[in-house]
Subunit: 358 residues, 2 copies
Amino acid sequence: MTDKTKKKATIYDLSVISGISPSTVSAVLNGTWRKRRIKEATAELIQKLAEEHGYSANLQARGLRSSRSGLVGLLLPVHDNRYFSSMAQYFEAQVRSTGQCPIVVSACRDPDEEHQIVESLISYSIDELLIAGATDPDGVHDICERAGLKHVNIDLPGSKAPSVVTDNYEGGRLLTQALIERMREQGPVAPDELHLFGGRDDHASRERIRAFRDVKRAMLGGDPDSCIQPTGYSPGNTAHAFEAFHARHGRLPRGFFVNSSINLEGLMRFLAQHPQEAFADIVVGCFDYDPFASFLPFPLFMIRQDAEAMITKGLSILSTTRPPIMTHLVAPTLVPPRTALIGPLDALKDPDAVHSVL
Amino acid sequence: MTDKTKKKATIYDLSVISGISPSTVSAVLNGTWRKRRIKEATAELIQKLAEEHGYSANLQARGLRSSRSGLVGLLLPVHDNRYFSSMAQYFEAQVRSTGQCPIVVSACRDPDEEHQIVESLISYSIDELLIAGATDPDGVHDICERAGLKHVNIDLPGSKAPSVVTDNYEGGRLLTQALIERMREQGPVAPDELHLFGGRDDHASRERIRAFRDVKRAMLGGDPDSCIQPTGYSPGNTAHAFEAFHARHGRLPRGFFVNSSINLEGLMRFLAQHPQEAFADIVVGCFDYDPFASFLPFPLFMIRQDAEAMITKGLSILSTTRPPIMTHLVAPTLVPPRTALIGPLDALKDPDAVHSVL
DNA sequence: CTTTTTTGCGCAATCGATGGTGCAATAACC
DNA sequence: GGTTATTGCACCATCGATTGCGCAAAAAAG
């Protein structure tokens, strides 16, 4: 405002115009001035000046000196997904409320990307890191360890750092059970009428598949291997799997468990190619919640993972001194078809909304 | 690896163990060594050493010296939304491919938050900023301007910096027209049978509403004010608007235009409260694309905004020397019901996918 | 064998903030 | 009034990398 100069004011600028030493200015502006026995009047003077000149600390300089940066990272597999983007949303709010700066990045489920990105975050001296859904959590751990960076795994556990993950077995159990019960409303269910699509060889998929098989064996008396198709986390591959099944059997399975909302997008691609009748009587489960998917024109049971609780727990572990290396389970919930849950966006105020129309 | 020390190696460490001066080490490791006429052998030696000791530059130090940071920011209204999260996805990929570090933050559509967050990004000396969907683009501009930070508006235009936005009028026109044509398949359409919900007093909403009204007047011969309900970008408020309409008329409008996927979530909340029959014959348009929403059990026309093109254009403007202050329009596309488009995630490789099952 | 040119690299200041140490001036005490 | 305590603040090294400048040794030119 008062300064037309293109560059930001520094403590030296304030020092010159106030005739007070830079170290005193620094102390005043970073809040340590009482400890340094600076007179209240001096502090007020400097604060006023800083205000007038729009001073704000150069955080790179501060970070260099203190080898901390005030940055807290969240490493995601992908942004473009309601589960992970809601994590990002909660993460931002919580980190910002501690006065730190959240920085969210995605590594596309590529281990090399994960490593590179973490290295680069370390180069920026980030203070803490939440590693969500990493393909190689232990590899990332080693990198963090070497740099002395505090970190926690979220969503997919690692063996070398504390982890916070959904109780995937329980979620898988809830979902499979709900599917079978719903299918039984249409008549008896044979073991080969309930399939599973999607997921890969990671902890979450394994647990979900284990639950799926356990429940099938207990409730249906059987569990053929051919009912499991881990197509990876790719909409395209999942769509192919549905097409292949349909080509072979002339229809989709009566019931199936889709391992994530990303795989569920594969189902949408299949649907786009087929008339509504092709799936008039299917019952579907999806391990993820999406508000639109919940209203699709077939019964769709969803599992809502508690992203908020996981972020909260993860951050609280980070603020613990020497957290034990263990895996914390967070309970997911079964969401029946046609359910609209509220999400992180509901916490936002919207002052411009026009209410009068009601 | 070779070093057990907890701290990262610096150019000084490498200088000591190699007997070569820090400045030479620095030059070698930042690539300016040819310009400084360093012997090739020396360079190789240092590079080998750096490799062995897992050296990576302290970017805070570099940033301090050069008053650049290698960080490029994307300021979003919210993460938890397919439109913005796909922007984030494209943004990350594109920025990373230039060797810079993307940093994505959200400001919750709160002007104060926007200002604060931008101030803090500036404190980290970020090099460039994409401002997406800002509530107060010109306010943010002033802050950037003062700090000499290059910036571009995306999605919502500002008057003081270059902007890249969807052609909202054209999108609104396409959508309204598609709605009316579809409604006419069921019989003649009266002006008060087509409504609009959602949006607030921003450029995008105004343009969409203008198109909506123009098309209604042209095609239906009328355009009552009572058909427009800008409920803000809040699922809750939107749901209330639907409930209120339903309470008054005993049904939803035959056709309606929903201003964003966030408002569409409000419709889901309404649906959850009512039996399927309550909306057997509605025709809906939504200004945003979501792959699941597209398959909802009623005709839902969607507008897909070209996030990728907007990011690309925005970044290219940032790399221009003195870009003119103008608004670039990006054409959106009309997406008919039951369409599964591919998105940014399809660019990802997925090595672990099991294809054999096909 | 000089003189000039080129090669190769080191010196030292700098970016902005932090914090340990030390030194006056003032206040408190006997 | 002289001595000790306290208050208030300045000095300066430091964090790690960058970069203009300059100097010695080697090479080329004369």
